[in-house]
């Protein structure tokens, strides 16, 4: 599953650490998701879309 988290992060000027803190995960986890090494759970994906104020399909694609 591909994602555009890095793009949205740079639009919203949020660092990996800031995003990790807000989502209550580690920075390494954000890094793994951004590099397509790990697909987040539905709960985490929905939290991200809420933070970036976008739809799931904007952030993730198969």
């Amino acid at each position: 599953m591909k994602n555009k988290i890095r793009v949205y992060r740079s639009i919203h000027k949020v660092s990996q650490q800031d995003l990790a803190d807000r989502l209550k995960v580690s920075r390494q986890t954000i890094n793994a998701i951004e590099n397509d090494k790990y697909s987040p759970s539905l709960e985490l994906a929905l939290k991200m879309t809420k933070l970036f104020d976008c739809k799931v399909e904007d952030l993730f694609e198969l």
Partner: protein, 161 residues
């Protein structure tokens, strides 16, 4: 909610697990049969069941004389192996949980693969030694695979992109 032990137990348990495991291997390879050590660790212990070699089975509460170094090491390996593998990380999240589950799955596959090889290829008295080793192999594999995964995970994001 995942059932895990507190993070404060992690470091000590990990140290104690690997130390006990290493000590167990050293004991089995170099010290087993040493009469001085066996005499030192032979004590009266409470038992529910006991049977001497070629003797009758004795059931019920009783005291038996036993060399307890292997029991002592086994308890240490089991308790600290479980505590080390199932204690929270500092930043416990879903990726860590997935790594823990993956490690458990791999350790189970390898352990039972090894057990199949033992069942089909090992005969005689050495078979018992292999079966005894299998009791702890799954815990050892789980901890070592999980620790390697954690090491690679923490190392993977050294620089923020």
């Amino acid at each position: 909610m995942t059932l895990l032990f507190p993070n404060r137990l992690k470091a000590f348990s990990r140290f104690m697990f690997y130390f006990s495991f290493l000590f167990g291997v050293v004991y089995l390879v170099f010290l087993e049969g040493d009469q001085q050590i066996e005499a030192l660790f032979t004590i009266q212990v409470p038992a529910l069941l006991s049977a001497e070699l070629f003797g009758d089975l004795k059931a019920g509460w009783q005291w038996v004389e036993a060399m307890v170094i292997d029991e002592f090491l086994s308890v240490l390996i089991i308790v600290f192996g479980i505590l080390a593998g199932f204690s929270r990380e500092k930043h416990e999240d879903e990726l860590i949980d997935k790594m823990r589950n993956d490690s458990l799955r791999w350790s189970l596959f390898i352990n039972y693969g090894f057990l199949l090889l033992t069942l089909l290829g090992v005969y005689g008295m050495i078979y018992l030694s292999f079966m005894f080793a299998q009791l702890f192999l799954i815990l050892f594999l789980f901890n070592i695979i999980f620790d390697i995964k954690l090491f690679r995970h923490y190392k993977s994001a050294g620089n923020e992109e």
